[in-house]
């Protein structure tokens, strides 16, 4: 087995989806394990725990990051938003709607991670084009779809969000 029990625990204060939370975790615990196993936030999925699949993507201070690579203690004081906490962000509804319309996902286990990556991108860059989308999604693995359905949904969302952005003076 490759797990090693940590000999120290650390108390972490989180701003999670707008809520203030406190949790005590082993020093080597990942943010993914904290979210899923201690806080029950299982919308953050677990795929590889080495940062190579993107299933556990969350926003940390506005940036998309693999929560499995974030040691829980590093999230102390940080603003964490999971896939279920994205409602406050203005692009989220359009992203979700567009992905659903294009039937972007199949098993859906990767979906929350993709949505976090896309929401981060389109929040930062409402004019994102195809290459920006490819770059933003490079770190999210999907095994079911072959990606094109996700790209179609992402492009539809980008198109809609870009148009909305143009209307705002």
């Amino acid at each position: 087995m490759t797990h090693v029990a940590a000999n120290e625990t650390i108390t972490v204060r989180l701003h999670l989806n707008g809520e203030e939370l406190e949790a005590t975790v082993p020093a080597d615990a990942s943010l993914t394990r904290l979210l899923r196993d201690r806080l029950g936030r299982t919308e953050t999925k677990i795929g590889c725990e080495v940062g190579r699949c993107g299933a556990c993507m969350v926003l940390m201070d506005g940036q998309a990051v693999n929560s499995c690579l974030i040691m829980a203690w590093r999230a102390d004081g940080a603003e964490i938003v999971t896939a279920a906490g994205l409602d406050e962000l203005p692009v989220t509804k359009t992203v979700r709607q567009s992905l659903a319309e294009e039937s972007a996902f199949q098993c859906g286990y990767c979906a929350p991670g993709f949505v976090v990556s896309l929401v981060a991108l389109l929040t930062q860059n409402p004019d994102a084009g195809r290459d920006d989308i490819l770059t933003a999604l490079e770190g999210n693995i999907c095994r079911c779809t072959g990606y094109h359905s996700i790209l179609r949904g992402a492009l539809l969302a980008a198109d809609r969000i870009g148009q909305q952005a143009q209307k705002i003076p």
């Binding site: 090693v4 659903a100 949505v115 490079e138 999907c142 079911c144």
Partner: protein, 1044 residues
């Protein structure tokens, strides 16, 4: 592990010095988890330097740029100062990791671990480091620093002189896939010339296993030379000789050196690598495009529906079975040995049982029933008692109050064992003196077929093509690993909630192991996060069940990805020797096939996989003589079984390449040679069996011939040569003639007015739920939303058979055909009574029952009112039980119903590196009427890219029973950038008149012809056929060089 948080670099250094070798700096920490998973010990002290102000900031100085060590790669990429002064660094940083990694990974970390792929570019840019050492703060050139032994130090900043306008700056990272990849090698160079004379030159290599270094010997050689007169081929050879690169499991040292030197010289000289010429496949004669349906949301119009399960999946609110968390739930873990083949001498769990927090420890001694499972042959222990046969074999399970305690308990279990000789490859496994993996020897299955006079066929041949085609141990790679939870039920039974592909069979297998009657076991198998055949056999269920029963409490368990790699089933690796003969006109005369497949430690469905491969030994072609022989061997290499394609795609790779090679030998185009040999509708199947009507091979061949990809232009980049290829395939549906293949289903009006459709099938992403809604609603005349699929629960749903073998679509369609008429009659009869009309005057419309005589779709009576009006004990329900259609052949396993397809691939081959990019895939399919358009398209595109992964980058590497692949950092599934830019899918939906068999399975046809289509496209480009998958860039590079 202790976390220390210094405020200054000197404090950090003091902490690191005190910690000694057990201390590590941490800022982005993007590599630590992977190191720990790979078995590297955790540091005892982690010094968090992320918040030290001195280490942050990107500033412009008189000498250039000063980049603070803790600046992230994302910051480097988006910095205007870097874009203006050192754009090469930003370009190189874009190729490190992936966007979310770059949001955390720092430039100092990339330098500090001495393996980062930015080291070559930083050296080419003449970077210096500002570092804090025990001697104080000092400056040192990066290349000098790298050549010195490591000492406790803190990198403060990276200092870069600006790029100059007259220089040529180049960078290339050659990876293992298109993006998010480790380096095979990264190379970089900067060349400055004054008046045509080289005045400065820096060349550096590194990346991954390649030691980062400047190639100073070559730099000296070229300094002062006239730029126009440089002998670049000689420079290339000198660079190749100057690179110190190691072999590893993924790429050879020779390849790294050769590809790195080619890439560097191509970029520095500005001259593209020479590309092979005049090796093109003859283009097929143009034909009219088929009357196919191009699948998309736009083309689909009203046929396109949003899947009902999708919004919740996208919002993250759909709980998977591995997501269950309850306060009373224990956590399960499995003990495995570090030996692929060993005899167990003793097993002592007493210390683990005594650990506080441990609620149950189970071993083989806890098995009341039969300690063996397997879909066809029960040769796999639930918990090993006598010996282990692969690294994934479980010897004990623990349930504890939390994960940490469970893992601690595992470490307290004492196992004495004696290593046995390891059976590491299927060919030596079949030697008479090989160590037996099972008592009955290592030959798990053997299949032979002889027909016609093969010697006469080969003697009369004008052309014979022979080669060995090798296919990989592909991993299913479903994003949700194997897992779920189990709980004891009050009647002494068990409820099991774990992703699977046939709940009723899982229940049967669990009943045998647990010694419980099947009625006492409930199995729920959906939703599951992908399966592809890899959850067909039992996975976590046996140990989970034993733990829950012994602990008398609910237990959850999900394999980590590392455990899934070790223990989960894989695609059977195959070596297929194929010798094919034709006459001068391209007519096949003889086909000889010899196949050896690796079963791994257990049989599971591997014998069926091999049988299916052999059923495709001639492809869809007619050969007057055939001799085939297949052997399946037990080894200690993991364990194998079902995977989408089920052997057909491996064999199709071989036969479809052989057809193109024979075409080339005969001077025919690839379509013409297939036409000449194609089986005709109405002929018996390959084994002589009767087959279903509606064959569409000719149409699929014509569709491939009409592809615009044959004449596409303009996609090649420097050093690339482009090619187009095609392949034809067919895929049997259902389990075949030998295994029982029955199904049952039920329609029922629920109390709330929804029409429940009960199927014991699984939603693993393929679109079962929308397919059930579509099949039932379309026949019934109601809306899709009126149908509520109830699936995959042995307590609620009838046994519909397995969700495998492209059979689910047929089962859904057939069940609707059988149940809907009588169900509709019952609905209408009841409605008639309630509204006091004749049933014949009523019809079913969305949401209820309407007057048949009007066009109104507004119901007279909605379903909810109808349901509420039913008397106590009165139900409207209709059930059907039926058998999957089969042929009459019983000498072996043969399929009756088939789906047909062809794939056209367009690729670009990089002649400097041997890398293959798939530019476009075009898929033509004939699988009967499409039940749900979006689900069908999803299956097609997903299968194509999964096949692309098998072809180009995926293989679980095992050496003598030990895994070199450990996780997704050593297994390379396609990313979004590996998917082709263009992917188009077509469907031909019609069936022959009076064909009673409805929609064909859509799950597997798409993966079937991808590999040979890509291989034939590569051959079109470079004149040689790759025969080993995933393609070795080294072999392709050699072929490019040989073909010049």
């Amino acid at each position: 592990m202790r976390i220390l948080k210094p405020d200054t670099p000197s404090q950090a250094l003091a902490m690191l010095s005190e910690a000694g070798p057990d201390g590590r700096c941490s800022a982005g920490s993007t590599a630590l988890q992977a190191e720990w998973f790979a078995g590297k010990a955790q540091p005892s002290v982690l010094v968090d330097i992320a918040r030290i102000e001195r280490l942050a900031g990107i500033t412009v100085t008189d000498d250039g740029l000063c980049i603070g060590a803790t600046e992230t790669l994302s910051a480097v990429i988006s910095s205007p100062a870097i874009a203006a002064r050192c754009p090469l660094l930003a370009e190189a940083a874009r190729r490190v990791g992936a966007a979310p990694i770059r949001n955390r990974a720092t430039i100092g970390g990339n330098v500090g671990w001495r393996k980062g792929c930015l080291l070559p570019v930083l050296m080419a840019l003449d970077a210096r480091l500002e570092i804090m050492t025990p001697r104080g703060s000092e400056g040192i050139s990066l290349s000098d620093w790298l050549s010195q032994p490591a000492e406790p130090s803190v990198i403060i900043a990276i200092l870069l002189p600006p790029q100059v306008a007259r220089g040529r700056y180049v960078y290339r990272k050659i990876g293992l896939r298109a993006a998010f990849t480790p380096s095979a090698i990264a190379v970089s160079g900067a060349i400055l010339a004054d008046a045509g004379i080289v005045s400065a030159l820096r060349i550096a290599v590194g990346g991954g296993p390649v030691p980062a270094a400047r190639l100073t010997g070559i730099e000296t050689l070229l300094a002062g030379q006239e730029l126009d007169k440089i002998d670049w081929p000689a420079v290339r050879d000198a660079i190749q000789a100057g690179i110190a690169a190691p072999d590893d499991a993924f790429r050879s040292a020779h390849y790294r050196k050769r590809a790195g030197a080619n890439a560097l010289v191509g970029m520095l000289s500005g001259k593209p690598t020479e590309i092979p010429k005049d090796r093109r496949t003859i283009r097929p004669a143009p034909v009219e495009p088929q009357d196919e349906f191009r699948l998309s949301r736009k083309e689909g119009g009203e046929r396109w529906h949003v899947r009902p399960d999708l919004p919740a999946k996208i919002a993250g609110s759909l709980p998977y079975l591995t997501d269950a968390r309850r306060d009373d739930m224990l956590v399960g873990a499995v003990l495995r040995l570090d030996e692929p083949h060993a005899r167990i001498l003793s097993l002592d769990t007493s210390s683990a049982e005594a650990l506080p927090g441990v609620k149950a420890v189970v071993t083989h001694r806890d098995i009341a029933g039969t300690n063996a499972f397997g879909i066809v042959v029960q040769d796999q222990p639930a918990l090993c008692g006598e010996k282990v046969r692969y690294l994934g074999d479980p010897v004990a399970g623990v349930a504890a109050t939390d994960c940490e305690t469970a893992l601690k308990a595992l470490s307290l279990i004492e196992v004495e064992y004696e290593p046995l000789p390891i059976v590491g490859d299927p060919i030596s496994a079949l030697d008479s003196n090989a160590e037996p993996v099972h008592t009955n020897g290592n030959l798990a299955a053997s299949i032979e077929l002889k027909r016609g006079d093969i010697d006469a066929g080969f003697s009369a041949a004008a052309h014979i093509v022979e080669d060995v085609y090798v296919t990989p141990r592909q991993m299913h790679g479903f994003m949700e690993t194997e897992g779920g939870y189990a709980e004891p039920t009050p009647d002494g039974g068990l409820a099991m909630f774990a992703g699977g592909q046939h709940g009723a069979r899982d229940r049967l297998q669990l009943a045998r192991i647990l010694g419980l009657p099947e009625e006492k076991i409930r199995v729920v198998t959906s939703p599951t996060g992908g399966a592809f055949g890899g959850k067909d056999e039992l996975t976590v269920q046996p140990v989970l069940a034993l733990l829950a029963l012994k602990a008398k409490a609910p237990v959850r368990m999900q394999w980590t990805r590392a455990e899934s790699v070790l223990a989960g089933t894989k695609r059977n690796p195959m070596r297929i020797r194929m010798r094919t003969a034709c006459d001068a006109d391209g007519m096949l005369l003889a086909q000889e096939v010899d196949l050896v497949a690796d079963s791994g430690a257990y049989a599971s469905l591997s014998p069926g996989v091999v049988e299916t491969a052999m059923e495709h030994a001639c492809g869809p072609y007619v050969s007057p003589s055939v001799t085939t022989h297949a052997r399946l061997a037990y080894t200690n290499n993991g364990t194998c079984g079902a995977f989408r394609g089920f052997g057909a795609n491996q064999m199709t790779f071989a036969i479809e390449c052989q057809m193109d090679r024979l075409a080339a030998a005969c001077g025919l185009d690839p379509v013409e040679i297939r036409w000449r040999n194609l089986r005709m509708p109405g002929m018996p199947g390959f084994l002589g069996q009767r087959v279903a009507p509606s064959e569409r091979l000719a149409e699929m061949l014509d569709a491939a011939a009409s592809s615009p990809l044959w004449d596409a232009t303009g996609e090649a980049e420097q050093n690339e040569v482009v090619g187009t290829g095609m392949a034809l395939n067919y895929q049997g549906n259902g389990l075949g003639t030998i295994p029982p293949d029955a199904a049952a289903a039920r329609l029922m009006l629920a109390a709330d007015g929804r029409i429940e459709a009960h199927f014991g099938l699984d939603e693993m992403g393929q679109g079962l739920i929308p397919s059930i809604q579509a099949a039932v609603a379309d026949r019934l005349g109601c809306a899709r939303d009126d149908i509520r699929p109830v699936i995959a629960d042995t307590a609620l749903t009838p046994d519909s058979g397995s969700t495998t073998a492209s059979r689910g679509g047929y089962v859904v369609w057939k069940a609707a055909e059988l149940t809907v008429p009588a169900f509709a009659e019952k609905l209408l009869a009841t409605a008639a009574r309630l509204v006091e009309r004749a049933a014949k005057d009523l019809k079913i419309v969305p949401n209820g029952i309407a007057d048949a005589a009007t066009n109104s779709r507004i119901p007279l009576l909605d379903f909810a009112t109808l349901a509420a009006a039913l008397g106590p004990g009165e139900h409207i329900v209709e059930e059907a039980a039926f058998k999957f259609p089969k042929s009459d052949y019983t000498n072996g396993n043969a399929r009756f119903i088939f789906a047909f397809g062809s794939t056209v691939a367009r690729v670009a081959v990089d002649c400097a590196t041997g890398e293959v990019r798939v530019l476009a895939l075009e898929l033509h399919t004939a699988a009967g009427p499409i039940i749900d358009l979006a689900a069908y398209l999803g299956q097609m595109e997903g299968g194509l890219v999964q096949g692309l992964g098998l072809t180009l980058s995926e293989d679980v590497l095992i050496e003598n029973g030990r895994f070199l692949t450990g996780n997704f950092d050593t297994y390379f599934m396609p990313t979004v950038r590996d998917a082709p830019d263009k992917m188009t899918t077509f469907a031909l939906e019609d069936l022959d008149p009076a064909d009673p068999y409805g929609p064909r399975g859509a799950g597997e046809i798409s993966i079937g012809a991808v590999t040979p289509a890509i291989a034939n496209a590569v051959a079109d480009a470079i004149g040689r056929w790759p025969t080993v998958t995933p393609f070795r860039p080294e072999a392709i590079l050699e072929a490019c060089e040989a073909a010049r």
